[in-house]
Protein backbone atom coordinates (compact mmCIF):
# COMPACT_ATOMS: atom_id res chain seq x y z
CA UNK A 1 0.00 0.00 0.00
CA UNK A 2 1.15 3.52 -0.81
CA UNK A 3 3.19 4.80 2.13
CA UNK A 4 2.14 8.39 1.65
CA UNK A 5 -1.46 7.36 1.66
CA UNK A 6 -0.93 5.51 4.93
CA UNK A 7 0.84 8.50 6.45
CA UNK A 8 -2.06 10.69 5.50
CA UNK A 9 -4.44 8.22 7.09
CA UNK A 10 -2.38 8.26 10.27
CA UNK A 11 -2.41 12.05 10.35
CA UNK A 12 -6.12 12.12 9.66
CA UNK A 13 -6.82 9.65 12.44
CA UNK A 14 -4.76 11.66 14.90
CA UNK A 15 -6.46 14.87 13.82
CA UNK A 16 -9.86 13.29 14.41
CA UNK A 17 -8.82 12.10 17.88
CA UNK A 18 -7.84 15.68 18.69
CA UNK A 19 -11.01 17.15 17.21
CA UNK A 20 -13.23 14.71 19.09
CA UNK A 21 -11.39 15.39 22.32
CA UNK A 22 -9.98 11.93 22.89
CA UNK A 23 -6.50 13.42 22.88
CA UNK A 24 -5.14 16.87 23.50
CA UNK A 25 -1.99 18.83 22.70
CA UNK A 26 0.02 16.85 25.23
CA UNK A 27 -0.06 13.87 22.86
CA UNK A 28 1.49 16.02 20.17
CA UNK A 29 4.18 17.03 22.64
CA UNK A 30 4.99 13.36 23.16
CA UNK A 31 5.32 12.87 19.43
CA UNK A 32 7.77 15.77 19.38
CA UNK A 33 9.96 13.73 21.71
CA UNK A 34 10.25 10.93 19.19
CA UNK A 35 13.45 10.89 17.19
CA UNK A 36 16.02 8.48 15.79
CA UNK A 37 17.21 7.61 19.30
CA UNK A 38 13.64 7.06 20.47
CA UNK A 39 11.70 6.05 17.37
CA UNK A 40 8.88 4.32 19.24
CA UNK A 41 8.71 6.56 22.25
CA UNK A 42 5.02 7.37 22.07
CA UNK A 43 3.87 3.81 21.56
CA UNK A 44 6.11 2.66 24.41
CA UNK A 45 4.80 5.32 26.76
CA UNK A 46 1.21 4.63 25.82
CA UNK A 47 1.73 0.89 26.33
CA UNK A 48 3.24 1.61 29.73
CA UNK A 49 0.29 3.83 30.51
CA UNK A 50 -2.31 1.19 29.70
CA UNK A 51 -0.45 -1.44 31.71
CA UNK A 52 -0.05 0.82 34.74
CA UNK A 53 -3.51 2.27 34.56
CA UNK A 54 -5.17 -1.15 34.27
CA UNK A 55 -3.68 -1.92 37.65
CA UNK A 56 -4.81 1.40 39.12
CA UNK A 57 -8.33 0.90 37.81
CA UNK A 58 -8.42 -2.54 39.41
CA UNK A 59 -7.33 -1.00 42.72
CA UNK A 60 -10.04 1.65 42.45
CA UNK A 61 -12.65 -0.99 41.63
CA UNK A 62 -11.58 -3.03 44.64
CA UNK A 63 -11.72 0.01 46.87
CA UNK A 64 -15.23 0.77 45.63
CA UNK A 65 -16.72 -2.68 46.13
CA UNK A 66 -15.06 -3.92 49.29
CA UNK A 67 -16.76 -2.74 52.47
CA UNK A 68 -16.98 0.88 53.65
CA UNK A 69 -15.36 3.13 51.11
CA UNK A 70 -12.00 4.61 51.98
CA UNK A 71 -12.28 7.90 50.11
CA UNK A 72 -8.73 8.91 50.94
CA UNK A 73 -7.41 5.75 49.32
CA UNK A 74 -9.63 6.31 46.29
CA UNK A 75 -8.36 9.84 46.04
CA UNK A 76 -4.80 8.58 46.08
CA UNK A 77 -5.32 6.05 43.31
CA UNK A 78 -7.22 8.55 41.21
CA UNK A 79 -4.49 11.11 41.74
CA UNK A 80 -1.94 8.85 40.13
CA UNK A 81 -4.33 7.79 37.41
CA UNK A 82 -5.21 11.34 36.47
CA UNK A 83 -1.58 12.39 36.56
CA UNK A 84 -0.54 9.81 34.00
CA UNK A 85 -3.68 10.29 31.90
CA UNK A 86 -3.06 13.99 31.57
CA UNK A 87 0.60 13.34 30.84
CA UNK A 88 -0.16 11.29 27.75
CA UNK A 89 -2.85 13.68 26.58
CA UNK A 90 -5.81 11.42 27.30
CA UNK A 91 -8.30 14.27 27.48
CA UNK A 92 -11.64 12.51 27.90
CA UNK A 93 -10.19 10.11 30.45
CA UNK A 94 -8.71 13.05 32.33
CA UNK A 95 -12.04 14.89 32.35
CA UNK A 96 -13.81 11.85 33.83
CA UNK A 97 -11.09 11.68 36.48
CA UNK A 98 -11.86 15.25 37.45
CA UNK A 99 -15.56 14.40 37.78
CA UNK A 100 -14.71 11.36 39.88
CA UNK A 101 -12.51 13.45 42.14
CA UNK A 102 -15.37 15.85 42.85
CA UNK A 103 -17.60 13.01 44.04
CA UNK A 104 -14.73 11.49 45.96
CA UNK A 105 -13.97 14.74 47.75
CA UNK A 106 -17.67 15.07 48.60
CA UNK A 107 -17.72 11.52 49.96
CA UNK A 108 -20.44 10.66 47.46
CA UNK A 109 -20.20 6.91 46.92
CA UNK A 110 -22.94 6.68 44.33
CA UNK A 111 -21.40 9.49 42.33
CA UNK A 112 -18.05 7.71 42.46
CA UNK A 113 -19.59 4.47 41.22
CA UNK A 114 -21.35 6.15 38.33
CA UNK A 115 -18.37 8.20 37.27
CA UNK A 116 -16.05 5.23 37.56
CA UNK A 117 -18.11 3.43 34.91
CA UNK A 118 -17.44 6.41 32.63
CA UNK A 119 -13.76 6.42 33.49
CA UNK A 120 -13.43 2.75 32.55
CA UNK A 121 -15.38 3.29 29.37
CA UNK A 122 -13.29 6.21 28.16
CA UNK A 123 -10.15 4.32 29.10
CA UNK A 124 -11.22 1.26 27.08
CA UNK A 125 -12.31 3.38 24.11
CA UNK A 126 -9.02 5.22 24.01
CA UNK A 127 -7.08 1.98 24.28
CA UNK A 128 -8.83 0.57 21.23
CA UNK A 129 -8.40 3.75 19.24
CA UNK A 130 -4.71 4.03 20.01
CA UNK A 131 -4.07 0.37 19.28
CA UNK A 132 -5.51 0.92 15.82
CA UNK A 133 -3.57 4.14 15.47
CA UNK A 134 -0.20 2.59 16.29
CA UNK A 135 -0.88 -0.40 14.08
CA UNK A 136 -1.49 1.94 11.19
CA UNK A 137 1.49 4.11 12.11
CA UNK A 138 3.77 1.09 12.05
CA UNK A 139 2.53 0.17 8.60
CA UNK A 140 3.06 3.71 7.41
CA UNK A 141 6.72 3.45 8.30
CA UNK A 142 9.09 5.32 10.60
CA UNK A 143 7.77 8.62 11.93
CA UNK A 144 9.69 11.84 11.68
CA UNK A 145 10.34 11.62 7.96
CA UNK A 146 8.31 14.76 7.54
CA UNK A 147 9.78 16.53 10.56
CA UNK A 148 13.10 17.57 9.11
CA UNK A 149 14.42 17.92 12.63
CA UNK A 150 17.92 19.26 12.91
CA UNK A 151 19.91 18.68 16.06
Amino acid sequence: MDRNHLKRQVDFMKRSFLDQGYLDEQFIQLEELQDDDNPNFVEEIVTLFFNDSARLLQNIEQALVSGPIDFAKLDNYMHQFKGSSSSIGAKRVKDECTRFKEYCTAGNAEGCFRTFVQVKQEHATLRTKLETYFQLARQAGPPGTSRGQVR
Binding site: R8, D11, F12, K14, R15, E25, Q26, I28, Q29, L30, E31, E32, L33, N38, F41, I45, L48, F49, D52, N76, H79, Q80, F81, K82, G83, S84, S86, S87, I88, G89, C97, T98, K101, P143, G144, S146, R147, G148, Q149, V150, R151
Partner: protein, 152 residues
Protein backbone atom coordinates in the same frame (compact mmCIF):
# COMPACT_ATOMS: atom_id res chain seq x y z
CA UNK B 1 -9.99 19.64 7.57
CA UNK B 2 -7.65 22.33 6.27
CA UNK B 3 -3.87 22.25 6.22
CA UNK B 4 -2.05 18.94 6.45
CA UNK B 5 -0.92 18.04 9.92
CA UNK B 6 2.73 18.66 10.36
CA UNK B 7 4.59 16.74 13.04
CA UNK B 8 6.60 19.83 13.79
CA UNK B 9 3.89 21.85 15.45
CA UNK B 10 5.70 23.88 18.06
CA UNK B 11 3.60 26.18 20.17
CA UNK B 12 4.18 29.87 19.63
CA UNK B 13 6.44 29.18 16.71
CA UNK B 14 8.12 32.33 15.48
CA UNK B 15 10.46 33.07 12.61
CA UNK B 16 14.06 32.43 13.47
CA UNK B 17 15.66 31.21 16.61
CA UNK B 18 18.69 33.30 17.40
CA UNK B 19 19.36 32.00 20.89
CA UNK B 20 17.25 28.89 20.53
CA UNK B 21 14.73 30.55 22.83
CA UNK B 22 11.83 29.05 21.01
CA UNK B 23 11.32 26.03 18.93
CA UNK B 24 11.35 27.05 15.31
CA UNK B 25 10.74 24.69 12.46
CA UNK B 26 13.23 21.84 12.42
CA UNK B 27 15.22 22.86 15.49
CA UNK B 28 14.59 21.97 19.05
CA UNK B 29 15.27 24.40 21.87
CA UNK B 30 18.34 23.45 23.89
CA UNK B 31 19.79 24.70 27.14
CA UNK B 32 22.98 26.73 26.87
CA UNK B 33 24.79 25.68 30.03
CA UNK B 34 25.21 22.27 31.55
CA UNK B 35 21.95 21.78 33.42
CA UNK B 36 20.90 18.82 35.51
CA UNK B 37 17.51 17.78 36.76
CA UNK B 38 15.95 15.26 39.10
CA UNK B 39 12.41 13.97 38.66
CA UNK B 40 10.72 12.59 41.75
CA UNK B 41 7.50 10.72 40.93
CA UNK B 42 6.01 7.38 41.98
CA UNK B 43 4.36 6.92 38.57
CA UNK B 44 6.43 5.31 35.85
CA UNK B 45 4.60 7.05 33.03
CA UNK B 46 5.12 10.51 34.51
CA UNK B 47 8.76 9.79 35.33
CA UNK B 48 9.39 8.64 31.76
CA UNK B 49 7.64 11.58 30.13
CA UNK B 50 9.13 14.29 32.33
CA UNK B 51 12.60 12.80 31.94
CA UNK B 52 12.28 12.59 28.17
CA UNK B 53 11.02 16.15 27.93
CA UNK B 54 13.89 17.57 29.97
CA UNK B 55 16.47 15.48 28.13
CA UNK B 56 15.13 16.67 24.81
CA UNK B 57 16.24 20.14 25.83
CA UNK B 58 19.72 18.93 26.72
CA UNK B 59 19.13 18.74 30.46
CA UNK B 60 20.92 15.79 32.06
CA UNK B 61 18.06 14.17 33.93
CA UNK B 62 17.66 11.43 36.51
CA UNK B 63 14.46 10.08 37.98
CA UNK B 64 13.61 8.44 41.30
CA UNK B 65 10.42 6.97 42.68
CA UNK B 66 10.40 8.26 46.22
CA UNK B 67 11.18 11.35 48.24
CA UNK B 68 13.49 9.22 50.34
CA UNK B 69 15.53 8.25 47.28
CA UNK B 70 15.77 11.90 46.25
CA UNK B 71 16.99 12.95 49.68
CA UNK B 72 19.51 10.10 49.75
CA UNK B 73 20.84 11.08 46.33
CA UNK B 74 21.35 14.68 47.36
CA UNK B 75 22.79 13.70 50.73
CA UNK B 76 25.38 11.67 48.84
CA UNK B 77 26.52 14.83 47.11
CA UNK B 78 24.54 14.97 43.88
CA UNK B 79 23.47 18.45 42.86
CA UNK B 80 20.75 19.44 40.45
CA UNK B 81 19.79 22.66 38.73
CA UNK B 82 16.15 21.66 38.84
CA UNK B 83 14.16 19.21 40.95
CA UNK B 84 10.59 18.33 40.01
CA UNK B 85 8.65 16.72 42.83
CA UNK B 86 5.20 15.17 42.69
CA UNK B 87 2.85 16.16 45.51
CA UNK B 88 1.62 12.69 46.44
CA UNK B 89 4.48 10.24 46.70
CA UNK B 90 4.32 6.73 48.12
CA UNK B 91 5.87 7.47 51.51
CA UNK B 92 7.24 10.92 52.40
CA UNK B 93 5.17 13.40 50.43
CA UNK B 94 6.35 16.11 48.05
CA UNK B 95 6.47 19.06 50.44
CA UNK B 96 8.28 17.03 53.11
CA UNK B 97 10.79 15.98 50.48
CA UNK B 98 11.30 19.59 49.43
CA UNK B 99 11.73 20.60 53.07
CA UNK B 100 14.43 18.00 53.63
CA UNK B 101 16.22 18.91 50.43
CA UNK B 102 16.26 22.59 51.41
CA UNK B 103 17.44 21.68 54.91
CA UNK B 104 20.51 20.13 53.31
CA UNK B 105 21.28 23.46 51.74
CA UNK B 106 20.36 22.59 48.17
CA UNK B 107 20.01 25.68 46.00
CA UNK B 108 18.19 23.89 43.20
CA UNK B 109 15.09 25.30 41.66
CA UNK B 110 12.29 23.15 43.03
CA UNK B 111 9.08 22.70 41.09
CA UNK B 112 6.18 21.03 42.85
CA UNK B 113 3.85 19.18 40.48
CA UNK B 114 0.50 17.51 40.99
CA UNK B 115 -2.35 15.77 39.24
CA UNK B 116 -5.09 17.94 40.79
CA UNK B 117 -4.21 21.52 41.58
CA UNK B 118 -5.13 22.42 45.14
CA UNK B 119 -4.42 25.70 46.87
CA UNK B 120 -3.60 24.09 50.20
CA UNK B 121 -1.12 21.79 48.51
CA UNK B 122 0.38 24.79 46.80
CA UNK B 123 0.77 26.63 50.10
CA UNK B 124 2.29 23.58 51.70
CA UNK B 125 4.77 23.09 48.90
CA UNK B 126 5.82 26.72 48.70
CA UNK B 127 6.18 26.93 52.49
CA UNK B 128 8.42 23.86 52.27
CA UNK B 129 10.74 25.67 49.91
CA UNK B 130 9.45 24.95 46.43
CA UNK B 131 9.74 27.82 43.96
CA UNK B 132 6.68 26.95 41.99
CA UNK B 133 3.73 24.57 41.90
CA UNK B 134 1.91 23.40 38.80
CA UNK B 135 -0.64 20.89 37.60
CA UNK B 136 0.44 18.07 35.28
CA UNK B 137 1.29 17.66 32.50
CA UNK B 138 4.78 19.12 32.44
CA UNK B 139 4.84 21.07 29.19
CA UNK B 140 7.33 23.04 27.09
CA UNK B 141 5.50 26.22 28.13
CA UNK B 142 6.54 25.51 31.72
CA UNK B 143 9.98 24.03 31.11
CA UNK B 144 11.48 26.39 28.56
CA UNK B 145 11.18 29.56 30.69
CA UNK B 146 12.67 27.66 33.64
CA UNK B 147 15.60 26.53 31.53
CA UNK B 148 16.11 30.07 30.24
CA UNK B 149 16.13 31.30 33.81
CA UNK B 150 18.65 28.68 34.89
CA UNK B 151 20.82 29.38 31.87
CA UNK B 152 21.21 33.04 32.87
Amino acid sequence: MGAAVDHVTPMGMSGGSAEGNDKSEGQRFSCKSKLTALVVDNGGVCRAIQTALLRSYGVETEAVETGEAAVELIASGATFSLIIIEMLLSFMNGPETAKQIRAMGAQSKILGITAFFDERDQQEFLAAGADNFIEKPLSPEIVIPIINELDN
